[in-house]
């Protein structure tokens, strides 16, 4: 009984079919519980007022947005090394979720930044690297859509994902460097986690767990539908012959 057994699409479908409802229900429970805890049962921040509650959505979505890319990187490497189709499809399935989370992170950040920093957008290193992450997701998704042959598409996107990861890390450090060069005043880049008091911290952790569960549920769902789509395509091709 090895982990690689689930590279078999039939076994994967079976296991994911069992797991999916659990993940979905758990995700729904934790997100609803965490968000309502955060929204209604925590005090307003003395400086930020009620806007601090945006962070209950902002931080988890940003967290998932970054880690979705890592998941895609691992899945891409597994595809290139072991040629398991489920792995390639899982990477493909994670990309739209990742880009959606990136957009949620950027939008909620803008909504929070307007009252707090007085601007919708600031060329702060964190914001800038999120914008760059968005571009990486965009290129990855478009490349999947542009190539007709599924195996070629999987190969090309996997290489792009690996190269992109190297350059994404480079960009992260480059934006840090670049922004220091522009203005030394670093008061905007509050490291949120370290400054958060316990009252805000616990509901935040619950929502983050909820978002991670939601990510797993959505990836499973998307991968399953990709596998079924491919199977349907194969059946149709066979019936034409």
């Amino acid at each position: 009984m090895s982990f690689w057994e689930y590279a078999n699409p039939v076994k994967f479908l079976k296991l994911s079919g069992v797991l999916l409802p659990y993940f979905s229900i758990l995700a729904a429970i934790t997100i609803i519980a965490g968000i309502s805890w955060g929204f209604f049962f925590t005090p307003d921040d003395y400086k930020q007022g009620a806007t601090v509650k945006i962070l209950y959505v902002h931080v988890p979505s940003a967290f998932v947005a970054i880690n979705a890319w890592f998941m895609m990187l691992v899945a891409s490497i597994i595809w290139l090394v072991r040629r398991h189709h489920v792995s390639a499809l899982a990477a493909k399935a994670a990309a739209p979720i990742g880009i959606a989370m990136t957009i949620i992170g950027l939008v909620t950040g803008a909504l929070w930044g307007q009252p707090m920093w007085g601007t919708w957008w600031e060329w702060d290193p964190k914001l800038t690297s999120f914008l760059i992450l968005f571009l990486f997701y965009l290129g990855y998704i478009i490349l999947w859509a542009a190539v007709d042959d599924p195996d070629t598409a999987a190969d090309l996107t996997s290489v792009l994902c690996i190269v992109g990861s190297v350059f994404a890390v480079l960009s992260r450090y480059a934006t840090n460097f670049w922004n220091q060069g522009l203005h030394q005043d670093a008061s905007l880049s509050i490291d949120k986690e370290e400054h958060v008091a316990d009252v805000f911290y616990y509901p935040l952790i619950v929502v983050m767990a909820g978002f991670v569960l939601l990510f797993f549920a959505l990836v499973l769902l998307n991968t399953r539908s990709e596998i079924m789509k491919r199977r349907a395509g194969a059946i149709m091709a066979r019936s034409r012959i």
Partner: protein, 218 residues
């Protein structure tokens, strides 16, 4: 490999080879920029390093599609792939030719364009150094992008979307080095980082581009 480089160089300088296209584009950006911003030399000299870097990047982007498209269409790339020359070397020679025909001329023309944009003589040197170290990275990264989209009929837009995020570190460090130099700050860190990005790209991307070409040629 040398024969391949000479062949590609010859093709690119012939009429319609695309050698003039990116230079003309760079030229247009530099000439038209003052019309858009206004003739104030102080203001122009402030934005000059960024403008020239952006111009170099866009001019580079414009000529990327040609790196593999023609050779892919007429089958030259298949021959190169089956020849005894490793595909990695083919990628390196293609990137080198791209740099010789776009990056190097841009660097050589920068002194004149710098004057047009109000830079002082001793400041232009920073711009030239940053472009010399940075444009090779633009060429090899672009070659990787061109290899990714080699099999596609109209890959131009896709190519730019794929390559743009990869260009960000080079652009940041390059423009930063030039700007710092012109404002009289120390430039060593940014120039070393720029050089690092360039060397890293030349070290890893030929392998990535060659593997992608093999996939596209399958």
């Amino acid at each position: 490999m040398i024969a391949l480089i000479i062949r590609d160089l010859k093709i690119s300088v012939r009429a319609g080879g695309g050698f003039g296209l990116s230079l003309a584009f760079f030229f247009i950006i530099v000439i038209f920029f003052p019309f858009a911003i206004g003739p104030d030399l102080d203001l122009l000299s402030k934005v000059a390093p960024g403008t020239l870097w952006l111009g170099a990047l866009l001019a580079c982007l414009l000529s990327l599609e040609r790196i593999f498209a023609l050779d892919f269409e007429d089958g030259t790339l298949d021959l190169l792939a089956t020849s005894s020359l490793p595909l990695e070397s083919v990628v390196i020679s293609k990137a080198l030719v791209h740099w010789l025909t776009t990056g190097l001329p841009l660097v050589l023309l920068t002194p004149f364009f710098g004057i047009l944009l109000g830079l002082q003589n001793n400041n232009i040197i920073f711009l030239i150094i940053s472009l010399i170290f940075g444009t090779p990275a633009l060429s090899i990264i672009g070659t990787f992008g061109a290899a990714l989209t080699a099999g596609m009929k109209r890959g131009g837009l896709l190519l730019s979307i794929l390559v743009l995020p990869l260009y960000i570190p080079t652009l940041i460090f390059g423009a930063e080095a030039a700007r710092r130099g012109i404002q009289g700050f120390e430039t060593q860190n940014s120039i070393l980082l720029l050089l690092g990005v360039s060397l890293l790209s030349w070290a890893i991307l030929p392998f990535a581009a060659a593997s992608v070409l093999r996939i596209n040629l399958r």
